[in-house]
C-alpha cells in the first residue's frame, strides 16, 4: 500500500519556477517507491529565511501556520513533507516556536481565524530525505535500481538548511553522510571527504550580494572538482540553483573553467530507477548532466 503524505511543494517547484525540475524528478521517484504525495490545497509561501525585513515574527509564523492548518484540515493525520529546504525549515521552525510559546500560538490562531482556519499543530513536519531514509530505507531504495549509475563520481553537497539547525536524525551537522549513501545506493561513487559538503552558497544573498556569494559558490565547486567529481548533487533548490547558474559568471570573474552539472538526489534516483530524461527532470538542467542523460537514454 502506498505511503501517503501531505505535500508542501513550495514556490520554487511550481510550474515554470526555478526548481520545477526537482518536483518532476521527485514525482518519478515517488512513483517508483510507491509514495503518494497529497498536495496541501491552496498552500502559500513560507517566506523562506528572507522575509524578515518586511515581515515581522508573527506574520511570518502565520504563513507557515496557515499551511499546517490547511494540511490538518485537508490531509488529516498525514505527516507534512517538503522537498525544499527552506520550506521544510520554516514550517518546522514555526511548529516548534508555537509549541514553545503559548502567547504566540494564541496570536497566530487569532490571525488564522481571519482566513477561517485553526491550528492544532500536531503533525510531524518532514523533509523528503527523512521520508526516504526513515520510512523507505536504503535497502528498499536500492532494490528499485534498474540502471546503476556506474562510473559517475558525485560530490554530495548537503548545504545549510537541510542540515541545520534540524538536520537529519543520526547525522552530524559537520559531516552528514546520507547524501553519500544515496549516491552509493544508486551505484555511483561519492567524493570522499568533500570539504564543502555543508558550506553555505550564500542562499538568498546570491541575489543581493552576488560577489560575496559567488566567492562561496566558487569554493564549493572547486572542492568538488578537487575531489574528482563529475557532478554535484544536492537536496536543496536554492543550493542547486546557486551552484549551477552562476558558473559562467564565476568563470568570467576568476578565470575558472567550471562546467559541472548540479542535480537533485531525486534526479539520480529517477534515472537509476529507469525513468527517462524528461521524467527525471534532466531537461531542467542548464548545465547538462550528460552522464545521467546517457544512462537515462539507454
Amino acid at each position: 500500500m502506498a505511503k501517503e503524505y501531505s505535500f508542501y511543494p513550495g514556490c520554487s517547484s511550481q510550474e515554470g519556477a526555478s526548481s520545477s525540475n526537482y518536483l518532476t524528478s521527485v514525482q518519478s521517484m515517488c512513483d517508483v517507491l510507491d509514495i503518494k504525495l497529497n498536495v496541501i490545497p491552496d498552500w502559500n509561501c513560507c517566506s523562506a529565511s528572507i522575509g524578515y525585513c518586511g515581515g515581522g515574527e508573527l506574520p511570518r509564523l502565520a504563513l507557515s501556520a496557515r499551511n499546517i492548518a490547511l494540511s490538518e484540515e485537508h490531509n488529516a493525520g498525514q505527516d507534512i513533507v517538503a522537498t525544499c529546504a527552506a520550506c521544510w525549515l520554516a514550517t518546522k521552525e514555526t511548529q516548534e516556536r508555537l509549541e514553545d510559546d503559548e502567547g504566540l500560538m494564541a496570536e497566530t490562531n487569532e490571525a488564522l481565524a481571519e482566513a477561517g482556519l485553526k491550528l492544532k499543530n500536531e503533525n510531524k513536519i518532514r523533509h523528503m530525505v527523512e521520508v526516504l531514509i526513515e520510512d523507505i530505507g536504503y535497502e528498499e531504495m536500492g532494490k528499485h535500481v534498474k540502471k546503476p549509475l556506474d562510473g559517475i563520481k558525485i560530490a554530495g553537497y548537503v548545504g545549510c538548511q537541510t542540515n541545520r539547525p534540524f538536520g537529519i536524525e543520526g547525522e552530524s551537522f559537520e559531516n552528514p553522510k546520507y547524501l553519500d549513501k544515496f549516491i552509493e545506493t544508486m551505484g555511483a561513487e561519492p567524493v570522499e571527504n568533500y570539504d564543502k559538503k555543508v558550506s553555505c552558497c550564500g542562499g538568498a544573498l546570491a541575489f543581493s550580494e552576488p560577489d560575496k556569494s559567488q566567492a562561496l559558490i566558487k569554493d564549493i565547486i572547486e572542492a568538488a572538482y578537487d575531489g574528482g567529481a563529475d557532478m554535484i548533487v544536492t537536496p536543496c533548490p536554492v543550493c542547486q540553483m546557486n551552484v549551477e547558474v552562476y558558473q559562467d559568471k564565476i568563470n568570467a570573474k576568476y578565470g575558472t573553467k567550471f562546467n559541472i552539472p548540479v542535480t537533485y538526489y531525486s534526479t539520480l534516483m529517477s534515472v537509476a530507477y529507469g525513468k527517462n530524461g524528461k521524467e527525471s527532470g534532466l531537461n531542467g538542467q542548464i548545465i547538462k548532466a550528460t552522464k545521467l542523460e546517457e544512462i537515462a537514454a539507454k
Binding site: 552530524s172 551537522f173 559537520e174 559531516n175 571527504n193 570539504d195 578537487d226
Partner: protein, 428 residues
C-alpha cells in the same frame, strides 16, 4: 572469591581510582573492613594515565606508589579487580550488592615474571594508551599495575596461544577455565567513586577529531609524554610522526556547551596550561603554543601557574571558541578558524597538532546506576540525605581536580564510617 567476609559493618568502595583508594585507605586505617570493587584489571584509575600533575608538575605515579604501599600493607582492604557492581539494594547500614567478576584467567600464583607474555604474539589495542598503541594478549596493564598480576585477554581464550601461555607459566598461575562469577556482598555503607571518562571527542564534529589525524585529545596528548607511552615520550603528530612544535589547545572541547556537556569540567584549563609546558620544555624557543579559551579558570594558587605560563613568550592566549577546523590537504595541518573576541580579530591559523581539552563526564551514565541516587542534571551524585548510605567520592560528585577529588574522598570515608559506627553501636 567465596571467602570474602562482608557484613553490614563493611564499607563497599565502588571504583579503585585515586578517590576510591583514598576513601578505602582512610577507612581501613581506622580499622574498618573495606572492599574495593574495580572494573579494570588494576587500581589507580585515570591518574595512572597522567604524566604529570598540575601545578607542581610532579608525577602521579609517585603518590600512587605510596597509596599502593599503604594498600598492600593493610589487611582490612580487599580489592576485587575486573569487578562491577551490577545490583545494589537496601538502605544505610544494610546494603546488599551483586558483584560480577570477569575472568582474568590468571590467579594469585602469578609473580609477574612475564613468561606468558614472552610466548604470546597477538596484539590488541592498549587501553592504557587510549588505544594509540598495542599490547600483547598476555599483559601487565602498566608498569605500576596493582595487583601486579598479568591478564590474559579474553580474545585469546580458546586459541593455541592461550595454551602456550599456560604452558609457559612455571607457577600454574594461568587458569584458562576461569569463569565469570557473581557474588553477593553485604555492606553498611557505600562509597561511590567511579570517577570520570573523557568526553567522546567524536561528537565535537566541528573539530573533526574523527576526520583529521592531527586533532587529538588532551588525554591522548598526555600519554605521549610518557616514555613508556605510545610514542616513547616523543611529542609527535599522528599523521606523519613529525615533531609537533606548533601546537594549539582548544579549551572547553565538550564542556560549557549545551551541545555536549553543559558544565565546566574544571580541570581542562589547568591541564592545557600544564601541557603547554610539555611543548615548551621539549622544543624550547621553537615551541609555539596557542591556547584558545573562553575563560581561563585557574583558581587559587593555580593562578600562579597561569601567570608563569603567560610569561612564556612562546605561549599565546586567544579568547575564542574555535569555530571549526579544516585540514590543509597538502601537509595535513589542521587549520583553525574563528574570531578572537578581544577586539574582534578574525583568524585562520595553521598548526602542526591540535589538542582538544576534552571535558569530564561521569563514568556512570545517569540511568546506569544500580541503585536510585539523587543526581544533578550533569549526572554527578549530590550530597543528599536521600542517598542514604551511599556517598559520592571524587569525580562522581563533581568535576574535580585530583587534589579536590582526594579531599572529597576523604570526606566520604568519614560519612561511610559514621554509618558503620552507628551499626556497630546498635549491634553492640
Amino acid at each position: 572469591m567465596s571467602d570474602i567476609v562482608a557484613t553490614n559493618q563493611t564499607i563497599l568502595v565502588v571504583g579503585g581510582g585515586i578517590s576510591g583508594m583514598t576513601a578505602a585507605l582512610e577507612a581501613a586505617e581506622v580499622g574498618k573492613q573495606v572492599i574495593v570493587i574495580e572494573k579494570t584489571p588494576s587500581v589507580g584509575g585515570r591518574v595512572t594515565k597522567l604524566y604529570k600533575y598540575f601545578p607542581k608538575l610532579c608525577f602521579p605515579t609517585c603518590g600512587q606508589e605510596i597509596n599502593q604501599r599503604r594498600m598492600a600493607a593493610n589487611r582490612n582492604i580487599t580489592v576485587l579487580t575486573m569487578a562491577e557492581v551490577t545490583e545494589l539494594s537496601g538502605e544505610a547500614g544494610n546494603y546488599s550488592a551483586t558483584v560480577k567478576i570477569s575472568p582474568r584467567y590468571v590467579n594469585d600464583n602469578c609473580t609477574a615474571c612475564g613468561a606468558c607474555a614472552e610466548v604470546v604474539e597477538s596484539e590488541f589495542d592498549d587501553e592504557h594508551n587510549y588505544n594509540m598503541s598495542k599490547r600483547k594478549g598476555a599483559y601487565l596493564p602498566h608498569n605500576l599495575a596493582m595487583p601486579k598480576r598479568y591478564v590474559i585477554d579474553p580474545a585469546l581464550i580458546g586459541t593455541d596461544e592461550a595454551t602456550k601461555a599456560k604452558e609457559a607459566c612455571p607457577f600454574n598461575a594461568i587458569d584458562l577455565d576461569m569463569q565469570e562469577e557473581t557474588i553477593e556482598l553485604k555492606a553498611g555503607a557505600v562509597v561511590w567513586a567511579t570517577g570520570w571518562r573523557p568526553f567522546d571527542a567524536n561528537k565535537i564534529q566541528p573539530y573533526g577529531y574523527d576526520r583529521f589525524d592531527n586533532v587529538i585529545t588532551s588525554v591522548e596528548f598526555e600519554r605521549m609524554m610518557d616514555p613508556f607511552g605510545p610514542t616513547g615520550g616523543k611529542l609527535v603528530r599522528p599523521s606523519d610522526g613529525k615533531e609537533a612544535k606548533n601546537v594549539a589547545f582548544i579549551q572547553c572541547a565538550g564542556s560549557r556547551d549545551r551541545n555536549y556537556l553543559r558544565h565546566c569540567s574544571r580541570i581542562c584549563c589547568m591541564a592545557s596550561l600544564k601541557q603547554s609546558t610539555y611543548v615548551t620544555e621539549k622544543y624550547g624557543d621553537e615551541a609555539n603554543v596557542s591556547i584558545y579559551y573562553i575563560d581561563i579558570r585557574a583558581i587559587d594558587r593555580f593562578e600562579d601557574f597561569y601567570q608563569k605560563v603567560q610569561d612564556n613568550e612562546n605561549v599565546t592566549f586567544i579568547k575564542s571558541k574555535v569555530a571549526n577546523i579544516v585540514e590543509n590537504h597538502e601537509n595535513n595541518n589542521p587549520v583553525l578558524k574563528g574570531v578572537n573576541t578581544e577586539g574582534y580579530h578574525r583568524y585562520e591559523n595553521e598548526h602542526d597538532l591540535v589538542v582538544l581539552a576534552v571535558g569530564m563526564e561521569p563514568s556512570v551514565a545517569k540511568d546506569e546506576f544500580p541503585i536510585e541516587l539523587k543526581l544533578n542534571d550533569e549526572g554527578f551524585i549530590e550530597n543528599d540525605e536521600a542517598n542514604g548510605g551511599v556517598f559520592a567520592a571524587g569525580c562522581s560528585a563533581d568535576a574535580l581536580d585530583v587534589n579536590r577529588a582526594v579531599q572529597s574522598a576523604t570526606a566520604s570515608a568519614l560519612r561511610a564510617i559514621q554509618v558503620v559506627n552507628r551499626v556497630a553501636q546498635a549491634e553492640g
